[in-house]
């Protein structure tokens, strides 16, 4: 029976059990989840993804169409504290290693999740882009702008074979897998999975009949990392596309037991010293002189540089090239430091690579927002309450002047009135009709106070009140700017091409054919 297709290549219509899904909470906040209907969980609702934006039981995610906005659920996370570590591990492994006693505790039926009053996430299918943002980091990884350019320049196409070393956290691996995938799955045999078994199968299938199957040949000398990547590759349904090998490529190169592998069309080296791996990426055994010049780099004292050479040059074994003999092979090395670049380029030249060039990718994301400026913004969040125009500034100054004048006037009136009252008292304590008039005048004064330009308090009140009727989403000036944190350097990318080998005999043949 054919295994279900990888959710990276063909995710189907909805989130399926035991397959990778991604919960997107914010633009850069995504969590991977292999969804499971299993009841083996400490939660009544079964397996749950707990996030800052709420809890999401798998039962609310499973079988939902991709892209669904899922509401958070009320999950009793009371006992969370002491079990959190364990739960996390389960989430990662999809409970494969769940201890027996857990199983016993498992409930027959899951409690139906109750929707929480707030919080949501979107259920999206995995892609190399989303995976890069949520994969468990074990090393530095190659991000989308870099790997997109690298795969573009390496001309990696469906059906190609690409060598990748070191595999690290598998970010590039997933992007490369998408690039080489050609669905030549059903056609022949389930290719690359295990070296030994397939070595035989390969030889049984007539070569010319078979459509070449795309493959990523990943090398990683750190055993736990290689192992972890293999787990992910299996979990992601990529095991027929990605072949992980635990190996030191400086020492042992890239050839595999399977004679037809890697047969590489492209190479990506994300290694501390790519120049040490280059001697294994030739079409024919390099001459001793070349080997010497590649290995004897004075700036990098090698522990036993002679050992490498001795090993390679004295091997009685038939030389095997890991490269596709019939195509130009392209390489990219990825190094953060310029010194690494210099050494790599020198080695590439010595080994006959052409079209050597170095490039860096400067990428940035932009923020778009509406910048609101003006007196109407006083006291509101996310806006600048300064005067937006000279006119506004003048108006504001006038208002201040006006208020001062009115208050000054009032002050004066008040004083005069007090003075008058004092006078009146002195004169005999009786208020004359004329003084009644005075009262009326001060009544007018009150009216005046109301027409006084608004106080700060008034203005804030008004701004708040007006807010309800404003449409902030289309007010202000539309602006864009670079995101606050900028990646100004990732690595230098060295590119080169190794043409097909072209011998005198080849030339003679071509000459005969085309004349």
């Amino acid at each position: 029976m054919a295994p279900p297709p990888s959710p990276f290549f063909d995710p189907g219509t909805h989130a399926a059990p035991n397959s990778l899904s991604v919960l997107q909470l914010r633009r850069d906040h995504l969590i991977p989840a292999v969804l499971s209907a299993s009841t083996e969980s400490e939660y009544a609702e079964g397996k749950v993804e707990n996030t800052r934006f709420g809890s999401f039981p798998h039962s609310t995610l499973l079988h939902q169409p991709w892209g669904t906005q899922v509401l958070a659920s009320v999950v009793d996370t009371g006992s969370r504290g002491q079990k959190s570590k364990k739960r996390k591990r389960e989430g990662d492994d999809d409970g494969q290693s769940t201890p027996v006693h857990e199983t016993e505790r498992a409930r027959k039926d899951l409690v139906k999740a109750v929707t929480a009053s707030s919080g949501f996430a979107h259920l999206v299918p995995p892609t190399p882009e989303t995976w890069t943002l949520c994969l468990p980091h074990r090393t530095q990884v190659v991000y989308t702008p870099d790997y997109s350019y690298i795969l573009q320049r390496l001309r990696v196409r469906p059906g190609d074979h690409i060598i990748e070393a070191g595999a690290g956290s598998g970010s590039f691996t997933h992007a490369a897998a998408r690039a080489v995938h050609n669905g030549a799955l059903e056609e022949a045999h389930p290719a690359i999975t295990t070296e030994a078994a397939n070595g035989d199968e390969h030889s049984m299938v007539p070569k010319a009949r078979r459509k070449r199957r795309g493959g990523v040949y990943s090398y990683e000398f750190h055993a736990p990392r290689a192992k972890q990547l293999q787990v992910e590759v299996n979990e992601h349904g990529l095991s027929s596309t990605v072949k992980v090998t635990n190996r030191d490529v400086y020492e042992d190169g890239f050839c595999l037991e399977d004679e037809e592998a890697p047969d590489a069309d492209a190479i990506f080296l994300d290694l501390p010293a790519p120049w040490l791996a280059l001697k294994h990426l030739t079409r024919s055994p390099p001459s001793p002189a070349v080997m010497k010049s590649v290995a004897s780099d004075p700036a990098t004292p090698e522990p036993e540089p002679s050992a490498h050479i001795a090993q390679t040059s004295s091997t009685p074994k038939l030389f095997r090239s890991p490269l596709n003999a019939k195509k130009p092979v392209r390489i990219c090395t990825f190094s953060p430091c310029i010194e690494q670049v210099t050494k790599t380029v020198t080695a590439l030249r010595s080994l006959g690579w052409l079209e050597i060039g170095m490039t860096e990718i400067l990428s940035k994301r932009l923020e778009v927002r509406r910048e609101r400026i003006g007196l109407q913004e006083e006291g509101l969040r996310g806006a600048n309450p300064s005067a937006a125009t000279v006119q506004e500034a003048v108006q504001r100054l006038r208002d201040v002047e006006g208020r001062a004048k009115v208050f000054h006037g009032l002050q004066k009136e008040k004083q005069e009135e007090i003075a008058r009252k004092v006078e009146a008292k002195k004169r005999g304590g009786k208020v004359s009709p004329a003084e009644e008039d005075q009262e009326a005048v001060s009544g007018k004064g009150k009216v005046k106070v109301e027409s006084v330009p608004p106080s700060k308090h008034d203005r804030l009140e008004r701004a708040k009140k007006e807010l309800d009727n404003r449409e902030l989403f289309k007010e202000g000036r539309l602006v864009h700017r670079t995101e606050p944190e900028l990646k100004t350097h990732t690595s230098y990318l060295v590119f080169a091409v190794l043409p097909r080998e072209w011998t005198k005999e080849d030339e003679e043949k071509a000459n005969r054919k085309w004349s």
Binding site: P5, D10, P11, T13, Q24, R26, R27, R52, F53, P65, G67, T68, S118, G119, F120, V124, T127, T144, P145, Y149, Q152, R153, R155, R178, A179, G183, K207, A208, R209, S284, S293, S321, L323, A325, T342, T346, R349, S350, G352, L354, G357, M358, T359, E360, S363, K364, R365, L366, V368, F473, K474, L478, V479, V497, P499, W502, K504, A510, N511, W514
Partner: protein, 644 residues
Amino acid sequence: MHSYIRPHTHIALRLPSGIVKILEIAPNTTINIGKFGSFAANLLLGRPYYLTFELLEKDDERTKTELRVVPASELHAEALGNDHAAPAESRDDPAPTEGGVEFDIVGDDGEVIMRSNRLTIDDPSRQKLSMEEIEELKKAGTGSGKEIIERIMASHMAIEEKTSFSLAKYTLRKSRKYLKRFTVLPLDVGMLTDYLTEREAYKVMELREDTLGLVSSWANIHCSETSRVLTGEDGISQIGGGRWLVVDDTGGLVVAALAEKMGILYPSEEDDDSGSEGKEEEEEPTSATTSAQPGQIATKTPVLPEGTTAPEETSIKPEDLQNGTTEASSNLPPPDPPQDDLPQPTSNQTLSNAPPNPPRPRRPPRPHIPQMSSPTNTLTLLHSNAQPNLAHLKYFSYDSGNPSTSHPLYTHLKTISWLQILHPSEDATYAEPETISEETLATMKSSKRGNYYRKRRRWERTKSVVDETRRGGFDGLIVASVMAPQTVLRALVPLVRGGGKVVVYSANVEPLVELCDLYSKERRAAFVARQFEKPQNGVKIKREVKEEDSEPNTPLFSSYEDGDEDEDFPVNPTLLLAPSLQTARARHWQVLPGRTHPMMTSRGGAEGYLFTATRVLPVEGKVEARGHFRGKKRKTGEGSAVQV
């Protein structure tokens, strides 16, 4: 593909000036590279790509023009500015150059060619040979320009005053001018993009190769030949299958880039592995056991005797050589404005006195497979003229006016006009032509009958493409158009499946800034709020939301041109998740020992921006966001706040 130079494919020749010429190579023709001379195309056919050849003109020893493969070591030695063999080069890395450290560059015979940086005087008059003399030398047929360079260097008064830095540049400058060399490069999308952006960037919306890579990634483009087209929840609509919607105003460059990554751009790929012609397979070099370094074999290749077949001439316009001041330019048509240098879609690369394209080898007719009929791994191109402009696909042997049935794009590329998708009933080709009974047909003239069948087929094709497209469920939408992006997205986003990708390219940032604003979280909140606060006024908006669930053949776009478009919400902002705006640019460096630095100049012009987002299926109803600042919930008005 590209394992060797095949007849009747487009190839790129890079000349020493760095200028690239594109031509279609045909057997038994002559390739003319302007003042450099010409040579037989057969000298290139069957040879590998990426080799640099030197033209050896006929002289006493040679009866014909020959091509010499310039070995990698020679190329590198020149790049490094001296004549040492490459393997030893690392030892020649100049010591730190600060503080006026002097060092010598030694010629082949151990003679010191030059030294000292300090006394160099930049004065062109120090070059003793006059231009006329140089021309004389060349006419004398001294073969490769190397000799000329040597003579110039020898006669250069200040040569001894130069350091390796200036000499390296000097040598390079000279070689670019006089060396009769060229490098053969495969014409793939990357190469074509470079070529087009260099010459007529405006025709491809100033799209650069760096941007193309990003577009493909964010659109999640990949080969989906074996993907499933599934049925949606409603039991009618279709979902997935590796189908992408494309709006392309770059003459097909974007289509080509996507097709390349889907494995449907190059015809008959299998040839590379299996060697379709047994004879060819046998001619392939089979083992890698020879000890030679690639390119180290200098092959002297005699040319076929002239006259056996009258060679057709494939000439290249040599205006690149020294900025158009070449002797060969006289026999060319009057100089065109630069943008016309590129061969037009209809015309052949051969510009001047060349005959029309030699006929392509036709494959035997296959069983009839309808055009645009592939169910999976397809591109559906929306076009705003009656016919799509896919001129650039001709470089990949696809003539959109008359496509070869064996080309993968024949079945995998579907085209549909905006009228057809939005108002199919107004499109004549969508209306079923009358059916004629078999008996009547039998009585008709064959030409009429053919006409009838052609019409029927065209209708069937149109109908199936239109119906399929309107059923939606696409895996993604890629837009590189000069049209207002919101109008495109309003129509097409509903046709993208949940979780599908939307990517919009724009040369300038402003259209995308506006687009981001239309999907801003504030606007989204207001949109949702309006739906709930004013149900009676919000009917229209509601309907739009509903539309995505509508039945396959109910018009998805009923409200599209009704004039009741809501000014504030030209698009439904809840349909896209995480709208983002980004830009990326590759910066190229020179890497030479002691002289590593970024290139001093590069192309300006449009920066190129991408809008990316994911299509989602919003919950109907009020949704309250939850912030990471628990208890201090962010609230925007009475509507729903939006997390993402």
